[in-house]
Amino acid sequence: MKIKNKTFRQNAITYAMVLLFYLICQGLIMSGNMSSLMKGLMVPICYYVILAVSLNLVVGISGELSLGHAGFMCIGAYSSAIFAVCVDGKIPEMAELLLALVIGAAVTAVFGFLIGIPVLRLRGDYLAIVTLAFGEIIKNVVNAVYVGVDENGLHFSMKDSLSLGLSENGIEIINGAQGISGLPRTATFTTGIILVFITLFIVLNLVNSRQGRAIMAIRDNRIAAESIGLSVSKYKMMAFVISAALAGVAGVLYSHNLSTLQATSKNFGYNQSIMILVFVVLGGIGNIRGSVIAAFILTILPEKLRFLSDYRMLIYAIVLITMMLFNSAPKAIAWRKSIKERFFSGKKAEAGKEAQ
C-alpha cells in the first residue's frame, strides 16, 4: 500500500542518517582527524539522541508535556551504577554492560509506572509541573542516600556513611552527594550508536503500529478515542513507561561513560530536562528524525563555538532562534514548500521529457 511505503521510506532515511553519521565519525577517528574533545562528545551525542527521541514519544506522540525526563535518566544511571560496582571484575565487561542496560531500563520502567499512576491523571500544565517536581525529588533523594554492601547484604542509610554499619571488607556504593565512584568506563561510541538504533527501532515501530495509532488517537481527541473503545489510561501509560525505560537506557550509557557518578543540578536537574525538551521542540514535536538532528546539532554546537569565547552563548542563542524560525514560522514553512515543489516539479518535467 502506498501509505505504508511512505512511512517505510521515511524511517529508512532516519536509520540511514544515523548510520552515515556513525561511519563518518568512525572514519575521522580512525584516520586521527578528530580532536580528543570531539571524541569525548561522541557518547554524549548518543545518549542525548536517545533522550530526545524518548521524550518525543511522550511530548509529541502522546501529547503530554513531561518535564521530568532527567529524573528517569538519573534512575537508570544510578541503578546501573550500583549494579556495576556490585559485580565489578566478577563478570566480563560486555556482559556487565548488557545486564546493566537491562537492569537500568527495567528499574526505570518500574519507576515510570509508579510515577505515571498519579501523574497521568493530570493534563497539560499540571502534568508538566508535577513531572518537573518528580524529577527534582529523584535527584535530591539520590543525593541523600547512603548505600553499602558487605557479606551481610545491602545496607541503607539516609544519614551518613558511618551509620551504614558496614563490616571491614564492606564497600560503600552510594556515598550521599559524593555519588558512586570506581565505575567501569565501558560505554563506547559503537555501543551508543547501537542503542540509538534500538531506540529508533522501538519508537518508530511503536508509532506505526496498532498501539501507536491508539496513542496518537488519544492525543488528537480524548473523548472520541473513548467513544470508540480505546483505553486512555492504558495507552498513555504505555507511552510514558516506554519513554521512561528508554531514558533509563540513556542513563546507563551516561553512567558507563564516567568513572564517578554524581547527581548534580547540571546533569540530572531540571535544566537538563528543559534541554531535552529544547531538542524535541526544535526538532519538531512528534518528528522523531527532527529530534535526532536537533540533539546532534545542539550537543556539538557549544563545542564548535568554543573559538568565539565570550560570545559563545550569544551565538548559541541566535542559532536556537534561527532553527526555531526555520522549523515553525509560517513564512519559512511556505518558503521550504516552494523550494520543495520547484525541485519536484523540475524532476517531473525532466521525466516528462525523457518519456517523449
Binding site: 488528537d220 478515542a225 480505546l230 504505555m238
Partner: protein, 267 residues
C-alpha cells in the same frame, strides 16, 4: 406457572428490542437536564430523537454512551444492562456514536482514523508490533482491507492518505460515521449528522444512512434538526422538550401532533 409464561413473553419481547431505556434522569445542580426519559428502539430500526434547542437531546446521547452517569433509570442494550458503565465498556458492548461538533483524530490519516476504530477487532500485542512479527503484517493487512472497504461505502477511499483535518466538512462527518461503524456496533448514534450540510449533501447523507442500516444490519438512533431528513428516513420518533418526553411514535403521527408543533413554533 402463569407468571413464568408471562416472564418468558417479556423476555421474547425484550429480545426484539435493541435499546430499552426506562425512567432515565440526570440533573446538574438544580437543573433537571433529562427527567424520566424512556425510549424503545426495535432492532434494525431508524429512530429519530428530536426537540427544540436545549431540550436535552445530546445529554441523552451522553447518558447512553456513559459520558454522564444517570441519577436514576436503566439502559438495556440488546438485553444487556449497561447503566452506569464506562464509555469504553459501553462501546465494547455495542454502542458507537458521532459528535455534534466533529471529533476526528485530525493529525491521523483518513485510513488511520478508521483503523483506530477497528482497534478492538484486530488484535496483536505491543511486542508483536515493535518487532514486526508475521502476526503484525497479517493483522495490519486485514485491517487495511477492512478499513478501505468501509471507506468505500462513504466514497472516502480515494482520500485515504489525507490527513483527516484536511477533508472538507461534509466528508469529515462521513468519516466520523465510518470510524464509528468500524467498531462494529449494534447501535449507531448519530448526533446531528446533517448539521452544516447543503441540501444536496443532506440528500446524499440520507441515502448513505439508509444504505448503512441495510448493508451493515444496523440499528440507528439519530438526533436531527433537519425536518426533511427526519421525515425522510426515520421510522419512529421521540420528541424531547425541556428534558421530558413530549410524545413518541410513528414519524408521521408525531410530526402532526399539535403539541409537537407548539413546542417547535411556540404559541
Amino acid at each position: 406457572m402463569e407468571e413464568k409464561i408471562i416472564k418468558a413473553a417479556d423476555v421474547r419481547q425484550e429480545k426484539g428490542l435493541m435499546l430499552n431505556v426506562e425512567n432515565l434522569s440526570i440533573s446538574f445542580g438544580g437543573l433537571k437536564a433529562v427527567e424520566n426519559f424512556h425510549m424503545q428502539i426495535k432492532k434494525h430500526e431508524l429512530y429519530g430523537l428530536i426537540g427544540p434547542n436545549g431540550a436535552g437531546k445530546t445529554t441523552v446521547f451522553n447518558l447512553l454512551t456513559g459520558v454522564y452517569k444517570p441519577d436514576t433509570g436503566s439502559i438495556l442494550l440488546d438485553g444487556e444492562n449497561i447503566t452506569g458503565k464506562h464509555t469504553i465498556d459501553i462501546n465494547h458492548a455495542g454502542i458507537a456514536r458521532t459528535f455534534q461538533n466533529i471529533r476526528l483524530f485530525g493529525n491521523l490519516s483518513v485510513l488511520d482514523n478508521v483503523k483506530a476504530g477497528l482497534h478492538a477487532h484486530y488484535v496483536y500485542g505491543t511486542v508483536s508490533g515493535i518487532f514486526r512479527t508475521p502476526k503484525f503484517y497479517k493483522m495490519e493487512r486485514a485491517m487495511n482491507e477492512k478499513a478501505m472497504e468501509i471507506l468505500k461505502v462513504f466514497d472516502l477511499d480515494e482520500a485515504a492518505s489525507y490527513k483527516a483535518s484536511q477533508l472538507p466538512y461534509g466528508r469529515q462527518r462521513k468519516l466520523e460515521i465510518a470510524r464509528a461503524l468500524a467498531t462494529e456496533p449494534k447501535l449507531l448514534l448519530l448526533d446531528e449528522p446533517a448539521a452544516g450540510m447543503n441540501p444536496q449533501e443532506t440528500q446524499e447523507l440520507m441515502d448513505t444512512i439508509r444504505f448503512v442500516r441495510d448493508s451493515f444490519d444496523m440499528t440507528i438512533l439519530l438526533i436531527e434538526h433537519d425536518m426533511k431528513l427526519v421525515s425522510g428516513i426515520c421510522e419512529e420518533l421521540t420528541v424531547l422538550n425541556f428534558g421530558q418526553v413530549l410524545c413518541s411514535g410513528a414519524t408521521k403521527e408525531v410530526l402532526n401532533n399539535p403539541e409537537v408543533i407548539k413546542a417547535y413554533l411556540g404559541d
